[in-house]
């Protein structure tokens, strides 16, 4: 109490000395201090963009926009760098991840929010959250020693036997590669998409569901209305999952094969992503243009990631704003 009174007197006197119309209170000071900390988030983001641009500058000067369509990556001899295959690789593996992960996430979130009895739901939703808690590098470790042999020996030959006539499914199978990368990414984005979907489904007014049930709908038909009610939010959740898949590094670099090529020869062939090449080569890059090119890749990744994340958040926020309250990830 005493310090607080002293502080109050001090601030009051200072306000008079500074000829302020409205005196500064200790509350203002506290608000100011906390706002400074909060503004640091801005500072961090801004500094990040600035630093990445600064360090990429050499590469931007050398290659310009051709960097985005360049398909050659040759640090050793000609020192030419191009990021198009990396962008394609990132987008492709993420697309595969969404293709596999979104239906499963939909099923999971429906199971947890609509189908499952409440006592079980608690346990299972916790388990799904545990999926997100496993570090990426451990998924990579598991990917190398368990998933890859499993896919190589059991699933892929089967796929090739059926779909082998399509070029996508032809070619040598070594276990890792584009499709495996997509599978690992799918596993990692399921908890995120499910969490958002569950939040979305939980805000659907009970009245909607009651109305349809009163009309004699089956469970599935009730669920269909829930889905259509939250349609736009689902899009947002998918895009958020995409954002996560794009940025994933360790798990994917451990299974995708890390091969820089314009296009892979098949889904079973190795490829490369933006995040993976940075992780693999930044420590080896011993001259400025090489480092700059890698950071340039990082800049591209940052922009794509920011665009996707901002878009997703806007969509999800809009949908969740229907109910005022805690906005959860």
């Amino acid at each position: 109490m005493k310090t607080h009174q002293k502080l109050f007197i001090f601030l009051h006197n200072s306000s008079i000395k500074l000829h302020l119309k409205k005196p500064i209170t200790s509350d203002d000071v506290f608000k100011f201090i906390t706002s400074l900390f909060a503004l640091s988030i801005f500072l961090i983001l801004g500094l990040m963009v600035y630093e990445l641009i600064k360090e990429s500058y050499l590469s931007i000067q050398t290659f310009g926009l051709k960097f985005l369509i360049g398909i050659k990556w040759d640090p050793a001899i000609s020192q030419v760098f191009g990021a198009l295959p990396l962008i394609l690789g990132t987008l492709t593996t993420s697309a595969i991840a969404l293709f596999i992960g979104v239906p499963i996430s939909l099923g999971v979130s429906l199971a947890l929010s609509e189908y499952m009895p409440k006592n079980f739901e608690f346990v299972f939703s916790f388990l799904i959250e545990l999926l997100a808690a496993v570090p990426s590098v451990i998924y990579g470790l598991w990917g190398i020693f368990i998933l890859i042999p499993f896919l190589r020996d059991n699933i892929y030959p089967f796929l090739q036997a059926i779909f082998g006539f399509i070029p996508l499914f032809s070619g040598p199978i070594y276990g890792g590669g584009v499709l495996t990368g997509g599978v690992v990414l799918a596993i990692m984005i399921i908890p995120i998409i499910s969490a958002i979907l569950r939040d979305l489904f939980s805000i659907v007014p009970i009245s909607q569901k009651e109305a349809i049930i009163a009309l004699g709908a089956t469970k599935w038909e009730t669920v269909k209305t829930v889905i259509s009610y939250t349609r736009s939010g689902i899009i947002g959740a998918i895009i958020l999952g995409l954002g996560r898949a794009i940025g994933e590094t360790m798990a994917i670099t451990m299974v995708i094969g890390n091969k820089f090529q314009f296009l892979p020869s098949s889904l079973f062939d190795a490829w490369y992503t933006m995040a993976a090449i940075i992780a693999n080569e930044l420590l080896e890059a011993t001259y400025d243009l090489y480092i700059s090119a890698l950071i340039n890749v990082g800049l591209v990744l940052l922009f794509i990631s920011l665009a996707v994340n901002i878009l997703a958040r806007l969509i999800v926020w809009r949908t969740l704003k229907l109910v005022k309250g805690i906005v959860r990830e």
């Binding site: 040759d74 640090p75 050793a76 001899i77 190398i144 890859i148 042999p149 040598p172 070594y174 276990g175 094969g257 890390n258 091969k259 820089f260 190795a270 693999n280 420590l283 080896e284 890059a285 011993t286 001259y287």
Partner: protein, 369 residues
């Protein structure tokens, strides 16, 4: 009481950190010196062993060696971002111009072997140079190809595609391997050539000798090329390669030693250029060389003659570096054999002593001799 709660947690966290920091063997007497090096993965197991053993003798010295490939090591040496670099490929003429007054110090001898993962087939599959070139060109793509079967009549080769594994990073091991293939196969020489980094016609890329080894381990029916230690330490099957005299030679310390002995007499001086020096080139057509394993190579440490060209290096560190290298070429050689490297022959050691005695800091010689 409530604020104290938070403060207590903070204090506990700090205490844990401080205790952790103190819980390691503190070298309070002498300032800890870190010797930063980078380069080839070829000698990495040996240098790593040296780092550990030398640390026991001189606890204030930490040798921090990053295996980033010879290409990366050479670049780091040119950029002066490391104190010493390691490479299996000597500097080319262009590189030597970019890094004048570089000393080449051979620190060990090793062999590069073809490793494969064929279920049911252990080590000893015979290869000729031409067959290896054709496999890596993608011309031979099945294990039961007639050419391979012809020289391995008593082995049942499977009818399965060969998965080729090569290096994805700039590598001295690649340089030696492609030198050998270029010498043997005109087609390889024209299509791919010899370099630390080439455009591989086919196959998957692994980073470092360890990366290639791991890929071969994980992929049945694959073939790769790695330094011998890696094959032995990971229990991979490796092949016998035919030398110029027509013998199919098993890679081992003996066949590597014999190969090195053939050229060890005519080493360039430490401060000259070594770009033309190659055990592989010397042996590839030498029909008199009996019992030699044809893909043998020195591994070199690259270091500047005058150490003050390196930024951030003081005299104590420079002295420590030279002392470490002196130890490496003498006592360090005792650890070579157990890691399947060939210990340096005595004439090479004497040659290296002369080279180390050329190293100066601010003009002062650092080597006691």
């Amino acid at each position: 009481m409530k604020i104290i709660y938070k403060i207590t947690i903070l204090v506990i966290m700090i205490t844990i950190i401080v205790i952790s920091m103190l819980a390691y063997p503190y070298i309070s007497s002498q300032k800890a010196i870190t010797l930063n090096g980078a380069g080839a993965t070829f000698p990495f197991p040996l240098i790593d062993k040296w780092a550990a053993e030398y640390h026991k003798i001189k606890p204030n010295i930490q040798v921090n060696y990053q295996g980033i490939g010879s290409g990366g090591g050479i670049k780091a040496h040119i950029e002066k971002t490391v104190y010493f670099a390691a490479s299996d490929a000597p500097l080319t003429d262009e590189q030597f111009v970019k890094a004048p007054n570089t000393l080449h110090i051979p620190i060990t001898i090793g062999g590069i072997v073809p490793v494969y993962n064929i279920p049911g087939i252990s080590k000893g599959l015979k290869f000729t140079g031409e067959i290896l070139a054709d496999i890596f060109l993608g011309k031979i793509n099945k294990w039961n190809d007639p050419k391979l079967a012809a020289i391995n009549p008593d082995i049942n080769l499977p009818n399965h595609e060969i998965i080729v594994i090569h290096r994805s990073d700039g590598s001295g091991t690649t340089f030696i391997w492609t030198s050998y293939l270029s010498d043997i196969s005109q087609e390889w020489k024209e299509k791919v050539g010899r370099s630390t980094s080439v455009n591989w016609p086919t196959g998957l890329g692994g980073k470092g000798n360890d990366g290639v080894t791991a890929l071969v381990q994980q992929n049945p029916y694959s073939i790769g090329y790695v330094e011998f230690t890696f094959a032995k330490k990971s229990n991979l099957a490796y092949g016998y390669v035919q030398n110029a005299a027509g013998e199919f030679i098993e890679p081992n310390l003996e066949s590597f030693s014999k190969a090195a002995a053939f050229v060890a007499i005519n080493l360039p001086k430490g401060d000259e250029k070594w770009s033309d020096f190659s055990i592989v080139d010397s042996l590839v057509n030498n029909k008199q060389a009996i019992g030699v394993y044809p893909i043998t190579s020195f591994s070199y440490i690259l270091i500047y003659k005058e150490l003050n060209v390196l930024p951030n290096i003081d005299e104590a560190t420079a002295k420590a570096l030279v002392d470490f290298l002196w130890w490496a070429i003498h006592d360090g050689q005792n650890y070579a054999a157990e890691l399947y490297y060939v210990p340096l022959p005595s004439n090479v050691i004497i040659h290296n002593e002369e080279t180390l005695q050329m190293i100066t800091y601010n003009g002062q010689k650092l080597c006691k001799g």
